[in-house]
Symmetry: C2
Subunit: 359 residues, 2 copies
């Protein structure tokens, strides 16, 4: 019988959560989210030209980093942070000192639930993160920790305590997160189906993690949330969140942590240009056919007991096994090591890596 986690009011966690946003081009964005975001500290990571200024409406508590700041803070290690691509947001994960991160794109607005009520996405993410995950066995009524649900007949009692939740992957109404080929074929398709559900992605199963509406437990999984090398000077784009998703999922599986997907929804307002997307994606579309089997078969030795150790081990295997796909992966593997070095520099190890779930 699950503890009635969601019966008590969801804590705000306002001193424990940072919102990370990769450039704000849309002036309405923060105004729309004001009722929900204003209590929190924002970290804005500007992805392009540092001479351009980003306007933040009054009343928000924020810090803003542009490329010059990233270069100044990380020195030569700044090479691991993408330029002119929203993948640069992961710099924000690194400089945050909070326990939880929520990241969202500036074309994502407040969605309404089927009753027409605006959805407080952050509140649902916090619910998801604060209740356990159940990766070892599927519960047919989905998240057993939601109000009105529980474990069904046949669910082993020894697994009902669950494991700590490392990430909460939210979804999108309106414009679905399709790849360029699907966008081109179905330009008018809109996601109108509100699925009132949260579930744990089972152990051993990979999923396409989208960075548009994503929350995670920084202390538990932060160092695995590297968004890779995308954008300026790189052969691909739009695989930043996918890369972080594959890496963090295999590390969660190894460390006994959970990832949930489902609620909350945001309203994704604008489809990105499918022609531009195709140019960014096309190598990834080939490469993922080899990357996915790589991650499906990756074995992390049991000596790897922290996220950092797991991540460095992954970088080694990426170099060994994916460099033959394209020299890009050799560069990416090096950047993964640099990322961890930079992370540990900004987050001295005593305070980082607590895979046992304690704060």
């Amino acid at each position: 019988m699950a503890a009635p986690v969601s019966v008590s009011p969801t804590p705000l966690l306002k001193d424990e959560l940072d919102i990370v946003i990769p450039t704000i081009r849309n002036l309405d964005f923060l105004e729309m989210w004001r009722p929900f975001f204003q209590p929190y500290h924002l970290i804005i990571v500007q992805d392009g030209d540092p001479s351009k200024t980003i306007k933040v409406p009054d009343g928000f508590d924020y810090e803003l980093y542009n490329r010059n700041d990233i270069n100044r803070i990380l020195g030569p290690k700044a090479s691991c942070i993408s330029f002119k691509d929203s993948a640069c947001r992961c710099f924000g994960y690194m400089v945050s000192k909070k326990k939880y991160i929520y990241t969202i794109d500036d074309d994502c607005f407040v969605a309404n639930d089927p009753a027409g009520k605006p959805i407080n996405a952050l509140e649902q993410h916090i619910k998801n993160l604060l209740s356990p995950s159940t990766p070892f066995f599927f519960n047919t009524l989905y998240d057993p920790f939601r109000e009105g649900a529980d474990f069904v007949r046949g669910y082993p009692f020894s697994l009902r305590e669950g494991v700590p939740t490392a990430a909460s992957h939210g979804l999108w109404l309106n414009i679905p997160d399709y790849d360029a080929p699907t966008q081109l074929v179905k330009p008018l398709e809109r996601n109108t189906r509100y699925v009132d559900m949260v579930l744990t992605i089972p152990k051993g199963t990979l999923f396409p993690m989208c960075g548009m509406n994503l929350a995670f437990h920084r202390d538990l999984i932060g160092p695995a949330m590297y968004f890779g090398l995308m954008g300026d000077g790189q052969p691909i784009g739009r695989y930043d969140d996918m890369w972080a998703g594959w890496c963090s999922k295999v590390i969660c599986d190894h460390l006994g942590l959970g990832i949930k997907t489902g609620l909350p929804y945001i309203f994704h307002s604008k489809a990105s240009n499918p022609f531009v997307n195709l140019r960014k994606e096309y190598k990834g579309i080939f490469w993922q056919e080899e990357i996915i089997p790589f991650f499906q078969n990756v074995l992390i030795p049991k000596e790897c007991t922290t996220v950092q150790k797991c991540y460095l081990e992954l970088s080694k295997q990426v170099k060994e096994k994916l460099s033959k796909v394209d020299p890009y992966f050799d560069k990416l593997a090096d950047a993964m090591v640099t990322w961890i070095e930079a992370w540990d520099e900004l987050n001295p190890p005593a305070g980082a890596a607590k895979p046992n779930g304690k704060a």
Copy 2:
């Protein structure tokens, strides 16, 4: 890009599907389902005293089997069919000559969708069975073959064809399918959440399959849908569908077939007595702690290319590894072999076992 499977009207499959019901105690049951069930042939398997008669309202096409019929048809092999337990329903799977089976309990009524419209459960099961499954990678918008959905960015193109769907597991509004301890602790809990979703249970993940509202492709997976030895003379009950679920899932994983769960809902009208349930279940509650790891780790050799071969291999491993849990499993392993012998007798092999998905 998924084929728009659900755009064309769902075929009735009335000459290809049998409805199997394990005794009808409730006279309203068939009246309520008449608009949806009347086109189909019913197979009713009476679980108790053969001298009692079951009333079937006019207008239904049905055959009815009681214990005397089972004994007459199977001879000594009738020992594999449970007595005084709804697990006897699997006899109906064996005598059917159709490609698909839908099985439902007599306390399951027509549910309404959130708009108040009666749900044609069978139509949704047919949709689920006729569209492919995607067990190798999780799609965050769930079943990509539903109207208005597709594969999301980052889903490997090589996996988008999917695999044949072997089973469709439907859910229950009102009384949830809880075990006796949960029933005792939460006697008033009702499932009111309509989750508008179908998903494939990923490869390598087990789930608690409930027999209340279940459809399957008999040609693809029928011989694995054995409901075990329950009820009269047996030490447990209420694990019949679980057993079939564990066995069929590992066999589907081995043969590259899919199982979906989610829609359709039925309205489960009546909670069974938790005290009676506790007596039936308590050994199973202990045993499942060893059975689940057994099934999680089971390896079926690649020589096993038909459901029957896989099932006989499973029976061998059950005898080897679970008999030490309780002598019951020794008996069950023998019954599994008898079940396959009886299946092949009633379904001469030339017509049975078509793991390639062709009719």
